[in-house]
Subunit: 157 residues, 2 copies
């Protein structure tokens, strides 16, 4: 299985990019992993919130294939701990699907259409995070989950 | 009031350090903020878990003054969202205390003694995060909370 972290915004901060890249290398020891950023959307001050979410939604749909498993990283999602997340991940690994896509929304979250199509939602925290920083948090959790599934020492608790 | 993020481990990753430094600058527009790392403890393979937590606990206690407000960032703490965190912060700001110290524990968490002395605990997520990454996590939330308290646009939700 291939795991992809899809986001609608380009990472502009070098430090964030470096952390994501470091975790990506580590994750690739366990599972094929990559990040993909949709950077086609132009953000102007005129963009209205709903319009922007709809545009982002269209790009998300374009990226996805019918047979993909798609999980939204969303505040409205299920709050899981690291062990529960590793179990969820394992369940996905055990399907015969080829791609598992985790999606980070834009600054305003996802469009109603995206919510209606994809029911799998995970929340990394009850707190609201910057949509760039959240990618680092996700990568750390994905790495941690894989070490848990491999019975490795990284997860101390 | 002065806010301090106290941690028992030194940040070794340049990218993490840069992100913390960037957020620190932003936070200082709202409140006096700094980070302090206790780096006196030597980590060897011989260190036992409990012994290490006790050593870290002693250093935490040395840093603190009687009149400080001390809040542990801990998985066993209260799970709050960003709005609730900003309200908690505001309550602390409204006391007449001089220093508000948030403490990040080491890889194994806090000693029993530290738990018995300090009852204020906040959890940033149900998930377990790397104790370096958690500092970035906290700084983003502290920045966000201050923008919320100032009625600024950063917090979109």
């Amino acid at each position: 299985m291939e795991v992809i972290l899809l986001s609608v915004n380009k990472t502009k901060d070098d430090s964030i990019e470096k952390l994501i890249s470091n975790y990506s290398k580590k994750i690739n020891h366990y599972v094929k992993f990559s990040t993909f950023e949709i950077s086609k959307i132009k953000y102007t001050k005129k963009n209205k919130k709903e319009e922007l979410k709809n545009k982002e939604g269209l790009e998300i749909k374009k990226f996805l294939k019918n047979e993909d498993i798609c999980v939204l990283l969303d505040e409205k999602g299920k709050n899981v701990d690291s062990i529960q997340f590793s179990k969820l991940l394992n369940n996905y690994y055990c399907t015969n699907k080829k791609r598992l896509i985790f999606v980070v929304g834009g600054a305003y979250g996802f469009s109603d259409e995206i919510y209606s199509i994809f029911s799998d939602k995970i929340s990394l925290s009850k707190m609201t995070f910057n949509h760039q920083i959240i990618k680092v948090f996700f990568c750390e959790q994905l790495y941690r989950a894989n070490t848990i599934l491999s019975n490795e020492k990284y997860h101390n608790n």
